[in-house]
Amino acid sequence: MVHASDGPAIDLRYVAKTYRRRVHALRGIEMRVEPGEVFGLLGPNGAGKSTLVKILMTVIRPTRATGTLLGRPIGHKPTLARVGYLPENHRFPPYLTGRQVLEFYAAMACVDRRTRRRRAGELLESVRMGKWANVRVGTYSKGMQQRIGLAQALCHDPRLVLLDEPTDGLDPVGRRETRELLLQLRDQGKTVFLNSHLLGEVERVCDRVAILVQGKVVRQGTIDDLTAHGRRYEIELSGDPAGGLRAAIRAALPCTVEPPAAPPPVAAGGGGAARAPAEKGVLHSGTPVELDGSVVRIGTDDAAEVQPVIDALRSRNLVIRAVRPIRQSLEDFFIEAVSDVSNGHSSGPSRREGGLS
């Protein structure tokens, strides 16, 4: 399905949409989706995700659109015969059965009669709706409609599939099956463009993501790249930080730890002891390190750099309870990215917690 000579599945140079000359839904989107990858589009409500997908599918007319879809200009109707689409909150004619829905939309995508009958049967089985194939869609549950919707998006064997909230309304089993289906599509060489609020789902299946905020792409790249800056190791030691553990760790670490900043004033009448602020330092290798209670954080994702620290702590007979590689989740990254744009500064959780980078 994917050929080396193929250009990008979606190549957007500049896409803008303004409603009534006042409301800027999209402010010049630039995005590239390679063939054969699963691409996730993330963003808070009202960011313009669905608007972008609808522009690609000619449901909404752009104010300006420069770019291509499967090598053809955006809005080129015949190209849509090779594109599958599942809109958010789709609504099928309630008088049609599941099989009739698939055959009708396949016919609308110019699939011949024999092929659409065969494809409908295969797809109904693949989304586990074979038993309900001849039952009217109007009687289906939300999850069943979603499954038929997914099958509908694939009924004409498209090269590119755009899915707007495909797991919406599905139970955990359905979500898992959808994930597996998306991975199968990727294995078949199809390009999947996924628009979802469920960051966990996106993180599990997407190769690359873009984050859309206020009509602009604010981050774009592989999930590994995007979440790289928050990676670190944490070493948790056994003992009471207030009972000399902290001093012992400080003495053991192969670096100079800067004294903590002045503790924040305790509110009058506030109960409980104030938590000691984190102490920061730099290892001889230049890697940042942080001492926070009984936890030592080392700002690297290289296990080799952690070994001297473990050795140093063990040489002082300190008991190591756990050593954990910590990676910034996509959710953390997403919230940070959204907050950056919305507030003009970072208030992301990793930074609030004294992130190392």
Partner: protein, 367 residues
């Protein structure tokens, strides 16, 4: 072609699911069965075994063929297809476009490799399919009944199919436009019915004004003729050398027929006629740009029967010799003189304009 057929088939399934298609068809069957049950003989009408005295509607005055054609036009077309079935068809099809443009539904269709204009027109034609099928079935059944019972096989009946479809399409295009604007089947239906009654009212008012205008013209003509007749008092004096025949020789003064009171009243004020003509002209112009629903259905009458064949005074027909009858006949003749191009052409012009506006909205809208 695959897409077009798929949309037509889907439209059929949609109508089928609403049951309305079958309900209307069943009522059509009853109407045709009604024709079949009624017979006409030398005594009058006969319903099954019951003989009714319906003079002058007997075979002595009208042929069975004429009777069946007249019944088909009056009840089958005029009342059933022209009113009741049309309202039912509008009820059935008013939701076609509001349903189509519903969010989540339109996305699935617009995102397919089919142009919006084609999608719009195909759905429009699919809506007309409902009426076409209904009328075609009704006409075939009526053709058989008139043939078997009346003994005349009248292919002209099938003119009802294009004419009634045409008539329905005038209303359906308005319903489509309103459905796209309001996105509500109920609002579209009610406003379309309102429009229809408005158009009907304008048509009826134009006909009434035409009748008043013609009557005023007749009165004025009569008054002018009376004016031209020499008054006995103004009779020229005989020449002086004329022999005096005396009073006995004087011929009797010719009896001058006095104009009727109504004609005397209009003497002089041809302003009434002028104002009626002006009002009629305005209404006629308004009517010209609007769809002519009644006239379009009435074209079938021109094809099938000659009103002169109707027995005098039968079924509410005015007496031909009465003043009312003369005026009505003159109006009917004037209406019949209006060309098919004017009746259908201008109505289709209206339809094209409304459809163009609806198509523009459909093609330009962000869903």
């Amino acid at each position: 072609m695959t897409q077009t057929l798929a949309i037509f088939y889907d439209a059929y399934r949609s109508l089928n699911a609403k049951k309305m298609f079958w309900i209307v068809l069943a009522i059509s069957g009853l109407v045709v069965a009604g024709f079949a049950l009624v017979g006409i003989n030398e005594k009058g009408l006969k319903v099954l075994v019951w003989q009714l005295d319906t003079e002058p509607f007997t075979t002595e005055l009208v042929s069975a063929a004429f009777f069946y054609k007249w019944a088909f036009l009056t009840f089958g077309i005029g009342i059933w297809l022209g009113w009741i079935a049309t309202i039912l068809a509008l009820v059935s099809t008013a939701g076609v476009f509001p349903d189509l443009v519903t969010s989540g539904s339109i996305d699935l269709l617009v995102s397919k490799p089919i142009g919006r204009l084609r999608l719009f027109l195909t759905h429009y034609l699919a809506g007309l399919l409902f009426v076409t099928l209904q009328i075609a079935i009704f006409c075939v059944a009526s053709f058989l009944v008139i043939g078997l019972r009346g003994g005349v096989w009248e292919p002209g009946l099938f003119m009802a199919v294009p004419l009634i479809v045409c008539f329905f399409s005038y209303l359906f295009c308005v319903c489509v436009l309103l459905g796209l604007v309001t996105r509500s089947a109920m609002a579209a239906l009610l406003l379309t019915l309102l429009f229809w009654f408005g158009v009907y009212g304008i048509g009826a008012a134009e006909n009434a004004l035409l009748m008043f205008k013609l009557a005023a013209e007749q009165r004025q003509t009569a008054a002018v003729q009376i004016e031209k007749q020499p008054s006995p008092r103004q009779k020229p004096l005989p020449p002086a050398d004329a022999p005096d025949r005396g009073a006995e020789a004087e011929p009797a003064e010719p009896k001058v027929e006095r104009p009727p009171a109504e004609a005397r009243q209009t003497r002089g004020p041809d302003g009434e006629s002028r104002s009626l003509a002006t009002a009629h002209k305005i209404l006629y112009r308004i009517k010209t740009v609007l769809p002519k629903t009644t006239e379009t259905v009435g074209l079938l009458e021109r094809t099938l029967i000659d009103l002169a064949e109707l027995p005098d005074g039968a079924f509410g027909q005015p007496n031909r010799d009465s003043a009312q009858g003369k005026a009505a006949r003159q109006v009917a003749e004037t209406l019949r003189e209006r060309s098919v191009a004017w009746v259908v052409g201008t109505s289709l012009g209206f339809e094209v304009l409304v459809l163009a506006l609806a198509a523009f909205l459909f093609c330009r809208r962000d869903f």
